[in-house]
Symmetry: C2
Subunit: 278 residues, 2 copies
């Protein structure tokens, strides 16, 4: 296990709540584990090996498929809160607490719900390319259309996750290469997962009490990261997270979008290590 990497760590399974959760664990044996919560439709292979292996130098890294997602069994629920309860069940089954949590996009919504519903499970929070409940929506209808293509293509991905500049597009292609190196790939998520995640995203857009009041309840030190031009979850939502979470540091990268951390993986790892380890 200690010698495993992003490319070699076997997919493991653990049963809880009648779900067989798929996960991978690699990196340092000691330190607070860092649990990765993935974006819309994504599975275990949708992370950047530069990031997961980089952060695994200093702590155990755990990649996780929520209920129904990719190689996990079960049905994907239709609310973010139910998704975070699955994360809690998974952590309980592994006997892990507290952990650090890195949530990307919808995974960042799940991470927020997790610290609010299960605060004792989480030590620190990293929120990437994400936003608060009832945040500012994206205003380009083409985004939903592209994001729900039956088989996501490289072009779809470059449009959704990177800025139009040559430098950002080149970084996107380099990431795409890195993320397809693994031979025994995690299967794609089912149409059921996509449909349920869309329902959960829709529910997350609704207000619940005073706008952003939930965020003030988050006690965990939080790092918020995004690209300056995120067209999926507009970047102003990252600013809002930093304004309302009591102990949140915000880092925004230039000439980049939703996948800014894939564009600047080394810098992202260094910034995240500085945050997690101090």
């Amino acid at each position: 296990m200690a010698n495993d990497t992003h490319l070699t760590a076997p997919t493991l399974f653990i049963q809880a709540n009648a779900v067989r959760y798929a996960y991978r664990r690699f990196g340092s044996q000691s330190g607070t584990p860092l649990v990765f919560l993935q974006h819309f439709r994504g599975g275990l292979d949708n992370w950047d090996p530069h990031i997961t292996d980089g952060l695994a130098q200093g702590r155990p890294v755990i990649l996780f498929n929520n209920a129904g997602v990719a190689s996990s069994s079960g049905e994907t629920p239709q609310t973010i809160d139910e998704m975070s309860d699955h994360v809690a069940a998974f952590l309980d089954a592994l006997g892990l607490r507290p952990v650090d949590v890195l949530g990307f996009s919808i995974g960042g919504y799940v991470a927020q719900s997790l610290v609010l519903r299960h605060p004792r499970l989480v030590r620190r929070l990293v929120l990437v390319g994400t936003g608060p409940r009832n945040g500012e929506p994206s205003d380009d209808p083409r985004i939903f259309e592209v994001a729900t293509n039956p088989v996501p293509t490289l072009d779809d991905f470059l449009f959704l996750f990177f800025s139009p500049s040559p430098a950002s597009q080149a970084a996107g292609k380099a990431f795409w290469e890195r993320r397809h190196q693994r031979k025994d790939a995690d299967p794609p998520s089912s149409p059921q997962t996509m449909k349920a995640q869309i329902a959960a995203l829709t529910e997350w857009r609704q207000p619940r009490g005073e706008r952003y009041a939930d965020l003030k309840e988050i006690q965990q030190p939080t790092l918020v990261v995004n690209g300056i031009n995120d067209i999926m979850v507009p970047t102003i939502n990252s600013f809002t997270l930093a304004q309302h979470i009591p102990n949140a540091q915000l880092i925004v990268y230039p000439d980049s979008g939703h996948g800014a951390h894939f564009q600047y993986p080394r810098l992202f790892v260094t910034h995240t290590e500085l945050f997690l380890d101090n």
Copy 2:
């Protein structure tokens, strides 16, 4: 010189444009010099030794009094552009180019004007607690009143530069101690300087062409830093800088204000080193 520090570096003078500019230089002999441009009314002693000595490990650090400010001779001009021309004259007189520039507050306005008017003088830019021309103004009239007190007190400073939380106020007091350690203090700035700087701040609030269009001309890699609750130059202005400067990284610290870098000096040094040295 190599063994000098923030507390021991002598105040030096160099003549140009009929002004005798006061400055101090210390730190590493090699590397791109980092020139510090100070806030409203501030002089050579208003920086944090943790920051200047920290950054001086990897490069020469140059603290600078603009024309008329504190121990510099001459008259303080009434526009930001004239102030940046003085910086250019000072750098020319020292024969330094390119330099890195760290501008704080009004010093950040001068830094922006400098890279636009004298682009070849500057390699990289650090903009702290600042904003663009015609940015979003502060809306609390008490701020102007306190900021223009004839003799700035600790209480004034804690109100203007730090958040009201106990942690931020304690950090402000610790900084205040650090910054008063030097025996041969720089004299306070004159009423003429304050009056001229107010005129320059007023002029900077006026539009000049399309809002924020100037920022797109800045070619230098830029690091933008602020606290999440800056009441002097509202933090949204830092977001605006990052949106419009083509290659700008934004870092915002939690539970802090205009003086966030004085509250988190070690983290600020590390983040700035990462930016300047990579």
